[in-house]
Point group: C2
Chain length 586, copies 2
């Protein structure tokens, strides 16, 4: 070993010991007669001292050294006269007697400090340098600890981690697959898994009644901010269970994680149906750190001459406590907020519940009596602000949902360090797509309808509810799952409702339909987004900060410059031709 | 939960309890008045009993049931009159009072028993049924336990598991990459990693001085028996180390694994140089469970008229203890063995050390005195058999190596349950390829030459030894690694020796060469084949038995029928065209 200790472990118990440290130069301070080097490694920083009077040659030797050089220093641990209480090694320093350069370094393109001066792009290009920074380093250490703790917990409750294949079969249902040409099987392709869904179901058929896996998954989507083409999932499945069993089991995991990493005792996780979530929060992933529920105002608003309300399918409002004193400017800001293209509303109506009267942007349509009734219905009190939006149900719910979050942020109701997990249950099984004029599976085609709703599959598919559930924490969807179909006939019916021809279903999922016939147990499961879980537990917005080598929004790794063209030889071996350029030429 | 207990946990401490079990019907025995069902789940088998006299309706209900049906049974635990000492639940049985069919089953295409009647192909097609069999199930449970134990051990000694990307950049050096077309970046491709090599080196540059990962890797090779296009690696890297540190660290891991899973204390692992391994065993992965070293016989054999020996570059022999009594037939079998196409020798020479004289297949060329000298040189004793082969050095070493293993097997020297790990060290850095007339890296292009051999890189590259090492257990290569180059100039030199033009090296590995300039610490590591490790620890030949869903020798998953053609739409989106068919048409 090129060291006897790390840069994070020496303290006054090591006084007078001769030690060797290796690490990176964080900082050099040359005070003339004395030079100090802060030496850094994964574990911390230790101060090295060089005295020009006692060891002039050594002092001379280090003159050229710079930031991020890698050195090995041997010396004696002494007590520091000027103690630094902020770091664990702050009581001591090393009087260096010998030093070696293990490697020099160019000046890094940005500073390796907790707060870096490097822009996002630069830091991605030099990700190996960005990873030296404490915040990023600590994120990856946290991720490691979290993964290991989850594995040990799952093992303790009888789950087996079983690896499923990465080179699988492409199925056009769902998101877009990444495909992998096969050289040995000419003209054929593997697909990278979007999730191990079918394999974990096959494992249930095999009798592995408690499976999990922390595993990479792949989706070739047009990337939105903070989506990655490859992401990590905690994938879980259980047999001989009903929905309640799955929720209870993973509530245990969630509570364990919060206890272990946050020292927080999560009380029983509240449940809310999909319908309630949409009705009260306008989203299926409500931030439950604050209430501010939607109040429906149709009947209270549709009796006057105000066209916008009268023509709206839905009129809903929220109450912002204590905001009746909002200025014109503040109110305009809110209007601007809902008019952003990403939200797309044309405006909003406010009612300020002031001490003497109600002041509203629709004063000319509604009398004080009307406004009072609305305020009472909303349980708004003196000093509160009511914000009202109107329009088509789904659209206005979404818009007011965004405004609710904005108000939550403005009012400081979305505090870091506060965690409100929530089970959202009773999702609809299907979603109608106007464009293709067909139903799509809301979760995936293997999700079980509620048994009592099975008859509706034929008569009113849109009304069928699923035994499906999401885990939401602070407005982020952390996990989702369902009880699966375990019956061959029902699965076939489901494919039929999704518009598959019998041959297509057979072609794509024949192996699964076949497997159902050999004693498939009732089963269900859940998958958690591991990257997102890391971020949410750390109160960080971006999942990228928890991925060692992430891709950018164009799905590129700018550090290694991937993807990249391949050689003609590689394409020839695969019998492939890139046709875009050809078209441009002809 | 559809059960109160599993089928593996009930015993006489549960007598008179009412329990509910769920599982698969392993066997039904209808003895007229009584019917017995063996109910199976992951945890074991429990006997259910049905009495036609007391509960005739229930007895009637189960008449149709068959093997592999999934049922839920409720009843009372009673003491068994006819105890089965072979299974943990053998003291009890369940008098069933209620039963439900959770799913029926077709008759499986092969029996779900420890020894199945299903052929390899059938069992692969119905892998989900094969996985129900105890031996396969137990292999996956073992794999799970081994992975978790390794993770906990590595964590304990300060290693962090860090996930590296799967969508990386293709590099033509080394084995063939699987490539993944990018839709967003037209005409460009990702590659799936053959190993996280460059990323783990970048992590060392980032200061994560102890990294590991249990991770899938991919190689598009022409499959030999027992190779998989996707396989799992325990990938490890450390900074501020020399070769000795890496060997010591992972010797600790190996010893821990053997102690934990085999209750075997492995003494210090012996080391052997690559040269010695080739000289004494004819292979770089010797089975060290038995000695039977090669003895060089050039000087003792080249003084007579025997052309084969005289013309040979190398004459070597092994001693098979106590085999002087081998019959003509047995000796012919050995000749046939070495003449197999996979071994490719033209024959072998034997000397039987019989009590009265030496009997040899070359009696007419060598006098008793000659044979005696050979026997003495080989330390062969009365009763032993000497087997001698001659030819070009590398070829004959390989051939005698195979014969040595065959003799080891015949003499029972390769016992299951005996483990002899071995470090093979001092590998050559480079390998000359006649076909392409260039050097290839024996391990990979990032392996460090021994510092004292660096000057030879320019003068005699073939003689350069590397700080590279393999872990071999019982003749299987379980792991391999090296100290890496951490110096930019040396890495460039290495690419030069490998015949890269400077631009090519820059194009393909520029990010790495660049990274070397920002303070790269000395580092090294190792990677273990996890599939192989599972197999070797279980004394099983095939790694497939430890993979839940393996591919066959044509890289196909016959269960899901992958790879498969994709839709024209998918190819169009990727701007790709499969050109083989086109050619066939024109």
């Amino acid at each position: 070993m090129l060291r006897t200790h790390t840069c994070g472990e020496l303290n006054s118990s090591h006084l007078n010991q001769t030690v060797t440290l290796s690490g990176w130069i964080q900082k050099i301070r040359n005070l003339g007669g004395m030079t100090f080097i802060d030496l850094r490694d994964r574990y911390g920083i230790t101060q090295l001292t060089f005295n020009s009077a006692t060891l002039p040659e050594l002092h001379k030797k280090i003159e050229d050294y710079g930031r991020e050089w890698v050195i090995q220093a041997t010396g004696t641990v002494i007590e520091r006269s000027n103690k630094n209480k902020n770091i664990p090694t702050g009581d001591i320093e090393i009087v260096v007697t010998d030093i070696q350069v293990l490697n020099s370094s160019l000046l890094p393109p940005f500073t390796i400090e907790d707060e870096s001066d490097g822009g996002d792009e630069l830091r991605m290009k030099y990700r190996y340098l960005d990873l030296r920074r404490n915040p990023v380093k600590n994120n990856l250490i946290f991720r490691h600890r979290l993964a290991l703790e989850i594995r040990n917990y799952m093992n303790k409750i009888g789950f087996l981690e079983i690896e499923t294949p990465f080179l699988i079969r492409s199925t056009p249902e769902g998101a877009r697959d990444f495909i992998v040409p096969s050289r040995v099987n000419e003209g054929e392709f593997y697909a990278l898994p979007q999730s191990p869904q079918t394999f974990k179901q096959l494992l249930m058929m095999s009798g592995f009644d408690r499976y999990f896996q922390i595993v990479k998954c792949f989706r070739d989507e047009d990337l939105r901010a903070d989506r990655q083409p490859e992401f990590t999932q905690i994938d879980c499945e259980m047999s001989f269970v009903e929905q309640e069993d799955v929720l209870t089991t993973f509530e245990g995991l969630v509570r364990h994680i919060f206890k272990t990493f946050k020292n927080i005792e999560i009380p029983q996780i509240e449940r809310i149906t999909y319908e309630e979530a949409m009705r009260y929060y306008g989203t299926d992933k409500p931030d439950a750190r604050f209430d501010m529920r939607f109040v429906e105002l149709n009947s209270l608003t549709k009796h006057r001459e105000f066209k916008i309300f009268n023509e709206a399918e839905l009129v809903i409002g929220i109450v912002a406590k204590g905001c009746a004193s909002y200025s014109r400017k503040q109110l305009d800001e809110l209007v601007d907020f809902v008019r952003r293209p990403t939200i797309g509303a044309s405006g909003l109506i406010y009612i300020l519940c002031q001490p003497e009267n109600y002041k509203s942007s629709v004063d000319k349509f509604y009398a004080q009596e009307d406004l009072k009734r609305i305020a009472e219905h909303c349980q708004a009190e003196e000093g509160d602000l009511i914000l009202i939006m109107a329009g088509k149900t789904e659209k206005v719910q979404k818009q007011l949902g965004e405004l609710r979050l904005e108000m939550g942020t403005r009012l400081g109701l979305r505090s870091k360090g506060v965690y409100k997990p929530l089970w959202v249950v009773d999702f609809p099984l299907l979603e109608w797509d106007e464009e293709t004029q067909r139903f799509y599976a809301k979760h995936h085609p293997f999700t079980s309808p509620k048994p009592e709703h099975i008859p509706l599959l034929t008569t009113e598919p849109a009304k069928v509810k699923a035994n499906a559930y999401d885990l939401v924490i602070n407005g982020s969807e952390i996990g989702g799952g369902s009880i699966r179909i375990h019956d061959n006939a029902l699965q076939k019916k489901m494919f039929e409702v999704l518009g598959f021809k019998a041959e297509e279903a057979e072609e794509q999922f024949g192996f699964l339909l076949n497997a159902f016939q050999y004693g498939c147990p009732p089963h269900g499961g859940i998958a958690f987004g591991f990257d997102r879980l890391c971020a949410v537990l750390s109160d960080v917005e971006s999942i990228r900060d928890f991925i060692a080598f992430p891709k950018n929004n164009s799905a590129r790794d700018v550090m290694i410059d991937a993807p990249s063209p391949v050689t003609q030889e590689q394409l020839d071996e695969l019998k492939l031709k890139v046709v875009s350029n050809e078209k441009n030429i002809t």
